[in-house]
């Protein structure tokens, strides 16, 4: 079962293709991270899913309903928090909770208490006087306390200090009823995402260039170093899965994007006989940089 499914989802603004032919599935119970550079189309995608804007063409299904027809009944099952959330600024966090509570039949006071503790949210006073981090905590708490089936977060971590990030993540990892809720999160904070997500979608220039489980992604990408005895190997043979990284001294570096294939090492050995070959696993951050550079090269 999928919590979200899109087919050829497209949105143009004038001549700008903000999102182009986006097809993805967010499996139920997963933490799906939509990552990509600024201006890639992450926020537009989320706004399309949340019916805040309408697609130019294509379709999105959210909890088995078409996104264009999302209504009150659906909103009672979806927790949505965005970076620039509009909040009733005159309310204190506890007034905000009291205000939201009657709108949600599944509101769970016990869960609300647990989450409040995980978030370390004790502040009083109107939201407009509180820090960005505290406002984010209040918004997240109000969106999780009714135990939604789907949680959608648009850049929840940006501009927040490590302690606040930690508390937000801790709240997200609460498991109501001992099963995780489905989370769709857009972010460019790849370090947070590397631990949290089990699915990664990479979006660049409005196009989804990759969707796969993070485990297979990180098994597939590998940084390869070729160290020769005498002269530098400056040239990398044109192999479809190899992306040049650089060369200096005796060392040539490239990224093998199919390093999980059994014949991968043989292929490298055959291309560079008599060289020492080392390969190492990459962080999601390094994979992000490779993908983003590829995207930038294609655009120019």
């Amino acid at each position: 079962m999928n919590a979200v499914e899109t087919r050829e989802l497209t949105r143009t603004f004038g001549t700008l293709d903000a999102v182009q032919g986006l097809t993805l599935e967010v499996p139920e119970g997963s933490i799906f991270a939509l990552i990509g550079p600024n201006g890639a189309g992450k926020t537009t995608t989320i706004k399309l899913l949340m019916n805040l804007i309408q697609p130019t063409s294509g379709q999105a299904m959210v909890l088995n309903n078409e996104s264009r027809h999302l209504g009150v009944k659906d909103w009672q099952r979806i927790g949505y928090v965005s970076e620039n959330q509009e909040l009733p600024e005159w309310m204190s966090p506890s007034e905000l909770l009291a205000y939201y509570r009657p709108f949600y039949p599944t509101w769970d006071d016990a869960l609300c208490g647990t989450l409040q503790e995980a978030l370390g949210l004790t502040a009083a006073g109107p939201l407009r006087t509180l820090s960005r981090g505290t406002r984010m905590k209040a918004a997240l708490l109000a969106s999780l306390a009714f135990s939604p089936e789907l949680v959608v977060l648009d850049e929840p971590f940006s501009g927040l200090d490590p302690l606040v990030r930690d508390e937000l993540v801790r709240a997200l990892l609460e498991m109501p009823g001992h099963r995780p809720w489905t989370v769709l999160v857009s972010s460019h904070d790849v370090d947070e995402v590397e631990r949290l997500a089990d699915w990664i979608g990479f979006i660049n220039n409005g196009r989804l260039t990759l969707v796969e489980p993070i485990e297979s992604l990180l098994n597939r990408f590998s940084l390869v170093e070729v160290i020769t005895e005498r002269e530098t190997v400056a040239e990398l043979p044109a192999v479809s899965n190899w992306v040049r990284h650089g060369a200096a001294g005796r060392t040539l570096r490239f990224v093998d994007t199919a390093h999980d294939q059994p014949e991968s090492l043989q292929r490298i050995g055959a291309a560079f006989p008599a060289a020492t070959i080392r390969s190492s696993r990459m962080s999601l951050r390094d994979v992000f940089l490779v993908l983003a550079r590829q995207g930038a090269a294609e655009r120019s």
Binding site: R170, E174, R195, S280, R281
Partner: protein, 131 residues
């Protein structure tokens, strides 16, 4: 708080890092036979990791014979079975050898150091002699 020492870094699988940390804790006696092990939820929240990853970690440790699931109690440490051997040590050993050579140590000195650590990390034979 987790009852074992771990500090996650990127560039290595989270599963491998945590399984290694728990193995080390069992070998050094930080975790002992019968000790309670954190739930999947606690593991996930404390390490800020995906619940599915936390689940896989517990499953891997059960398969390695380091943990056992007890009805009504949760997961406990079983130090009776020796941890599964042959972890890929090449990279770690290589680092030790390179550091030792740079420091101008002799092979004998390195071996003496290893022997010393080997003795210090091995616990007195009590639980292990049963397995």
């Amino acid at each position: 708080m987790l009852p074992f020492t771990v500090s996650l870094h990127s560039g290595e699988s989270i599963l491998d890092q945590v399984v290694y940390a728990v193995t080390r804790a069992v070998v050094t006696g930080q975790l002992r036979d019968g000790d309670a092990f954190p739930s999947v939820r606690t593991l996930s929240q404390e390490l800020k990791i995906n619940p599915n990853t936390a689940h896989k970690i517990v499953a891997a440790l059960i398969e390695d014979g380091l943990l056992m699931s007890r009805q009504g109690i949760g997961t406990v440490v079983t130090a009776t079975a020796p941890p599964a051997g042959s972890a890929p040590l090449d990279a770690d050993v290589e680092r030790v050898v390179i550091d030792a050579r740079r420091a101008g140590m002799t092979l004998q000195q390195v071996i003496a150091l290893v022997r010393n650590l080997w003795t210090r990390t091995g616990r007195p034979a009590e639980p292990r002699s049963r397995g």
